[in-house]
């Protein structure tokens, strides 16, 4: 009988041990992290979280609700690059106690909002000048229209361009980032709205002088303008099709069946190339120095962007086609 009791006891002990082993195994399966978040500039401790599950890194919303996630920049090194939304604690080079640095990016605004505002402005402002709304030109010209047919054509082209941009913003573009700093909207709107007013003032002025070479010049300009508008749109569609909806993947763009996309063989950012072409067409059509100026400034900015994009393509893809230039074939 004693033997049996001892056997039962050992059995019970083994059962208990077995259960302990099971619990241990369960706990090991989920590794909890301890996360410490410091301010990137002052190195103050902002918050400390223990028992964090190895999921996404937008943690600070828990401690400081006024810093909504789009405004947070969390990084492993105070001067390093910001971590992405998709980054997961488990896959980062940190131990079980992780230290992150936090930076407030300032008030943010969505890209879509910025684009819609900055494009709606020129559309409406130009029309105000076209219809000669009071207080712009001498009162005897209020609500009159220009006697030159090129002025009507220019209004249609300008308006078409911005309507196209608005529709593309709503239905075509797939943005990499959700937001940008709030101050950008003031900067961008000043640029777009200011230039639109400056151009529109002269084109719709009662003393406007039509192009020197008349109908020939305007027809040629219109062909260039339309060609580049279609081209620009084709590129936007091609770029959209590279990226499945809701994703932020990046791929090398290639020419498609659409001949307007064959320019991808020579250029990394043909959307900018076509945009330049459109404005050159508009400059030729209106023969207006402010328009030429706007084209030049836009070209400089787009070149800066194209060069940066080209460089990032080269960095990201080992097999990037070597024949391509950033914005102008072979030249720039």
């Amino acid at each position: 009988r004693l033997k049996k009791e001892r056997e039962r006891e050992t059995d019970r002990e083994r059962q208990r041990e077995g259960r302990n082993m099971d619990t241990l195994a369960l706990e090991k399966a989920v590794v909890f992290f301890e996360v410490e978040i410091l301010d990137a500039k002052t190195k103050d401790k902002l918050c400390f979280l223990d028992k964090v599950r190895p999921t996404s890194t937008k943690l600070c919303a828990a401690c400081y609700p006024q810093w909504y996630p789009a405004r947070q920049s969390i990084r492993l090194d105070p001067k390093g690059k910001s971590l992405k939304d998709e980054d997961v604690l488990q896959h980062l080079p940190v131990g079980t106690t992780a230290t992150f640095y936090f930076r407030d990016l300032g008030a943010q605004i969505s890209w879509v909002t910025v684009f819609l505002t900055e494009y709606a402005g020129p559309l409406l402002i130009y029309l105000m000048f076209y219809f000669r709304v009071p207080f712009i030109y001498p009162p005897k010209y209020d609500f009159t229209t220009s006697k030159h047919w090129v002025v009507h054509l220019a209004c249609m082209c300008h308006s078409f361009h911005y309507v196209k941009r608005l529709l593309e913003t709503l239905f075509v573009h797939r943005f990499s980032h959700g937001t940008m700093p709030l101050r950008n909207i003031f900067k961008n709107c000043t640029y777009y709205w200011g230039f639109a007013a400056w151009m529109a003032y002269y084109i719709n002025h009662p003393l406007y002088t039509p192009p020197t070479y008349g109908e020939q010049q305007v027809k040629m300009a219109l062909i260039i303008f339309l060609f580049c508008q279609i081209g620009n749109f084709s590129i936007h569609i091609a770029l959209r099709n590279l990226r499945p909806p809701g994703s932020k993947t990046r791929k090398i763009p290639y020419p498609t069946k659409n001949p307007f996309t064959w320019i991808f063989l020579l250029v990394s950012c043909p959307n900018y190339t076509y945009e330049l072409g459109s404005w050159l067409g508009f400059t030729l059509m209106t023969q207006c120095l402010p328009v030429a100026f706007f084209t030049l400034v836009g070209f400089i900015q787009m070149t800066v962007w194209a060069k940066a994009k080209h460089r990032s393509y080269l960095k990201e893809f080992r097999d990037y086609p070597p024949l391509r230039s950033p914005i102008l074939p072979f030249v720039l």
């Binding site: 500039k41 002269y202 406007y208 002088t209 020197t212 209106t286 023969q287 120095l289 402010p290």
Partner: protein
């Protein structure tokens, strides 16, 4: 063979270092010459103005007597933008550019082209301010390059501006304001419609915009100097605002 390659690499590094040293020696030599020349130039201007006033007893005609020297030395200062651009001087190209532009603008497009304002008191005001500021600034750079900077020059460079800057701005603004009626009447530097480039330019309104632009620009330059002053004289570490 391996050691041969290594020697080659080491030699290349040495020639590179040597090149860097000669380049910076040339740069230092040029900058020293430049700053000495500019100090001398502005001293000449100061002495000429003082001498004229002592001899003639009036400020009228001072500008005409120094006009050529002033135009020469102030225009030469355009080189400073180049110095920043190629990196031999560690200052922002934009800050230097704005300063030099405003000087060139005053000299060539206001006092040089609008004769009627040349005898204004405000012209004397900014000329005196510029002279004092430039002599201090260029001698400061000269002594710094020669590694022998007397404290009083450093003191002057980082303290006189506190009074000189606002006085200079007042002189410049008053001069532009005085020029307005003459600009309007003569229609100078202006282009009217209709013309085949469909653009117009009104120098009168342009000058008004220039005067208004002092409002955002002057405080920025002034506070930039104040921050530099705190850093240099009191060794404070300023945490710069991002962007």
């Amino acid at each position: 063979m391996a050691s041969g390659e290594e020697d080659g690499a080491v030699e290349e590094k040495e020639t590179n270092n040597k090149k860097k040293r000669t380049k910076s020696a040339i740069a230092t030599a040029w900058l020293t010459f430049y700053n000495i020349a500019m100090t001398a130039g502005w001293l000449v201007l100061a002495l000429a103005m003082a001498r004229y006033y002592l001899q003639k007893g009036t400020h009228k005609g001072v500008y005409r007597s120094i006009a050529r020297t002033l135009k020469f030395f102030q225009t030469f200062a355009v080189l400073e933008v180049g110095h920043c651009a190629i990196g031999i001087v560690r200052t922002s190209v934009i800050v230097t550019g704005v300063q030099v532009c405003s000087r060139i603008f005053m000299v060539w497009f206001i006092t040089n082209s609008i004769r009627q304002v040349q005898n204004q008191e405000s012209v004397i005001l900014f000329l005196v301010v510029w002279t004092v500021t430039e002599i201090t600034r260029y001698s400061f750079y000269t002594f710094k390059l020669l590694n022998h900077l007397p404290y009083f020059i450093k003191w002057a460079r980082y303290n006189l501006f506190i009074v000189m800057y606002p006085l200079g701005v007042i002189g410049e603004l008053m001069t532009i304001y005085a020029a307005l009626p003459y600009v309007r009447r003569s229609g100078m530097y202006s282009l009217r419609l209709p013309n085949k480039y469909n653009v117009s330019f009104d120098y009168y309104y342009f000058l008004i915009i220039v005067m208004l632009s002092y409002i955002p620009l002057f405080p920025q330059l002034y506070f930039h100097m104040l921050r530099q002053r705190r850093r240099v004289l009191h060794g404070e570490v300023i945490v710069e605002k991002d962007e």
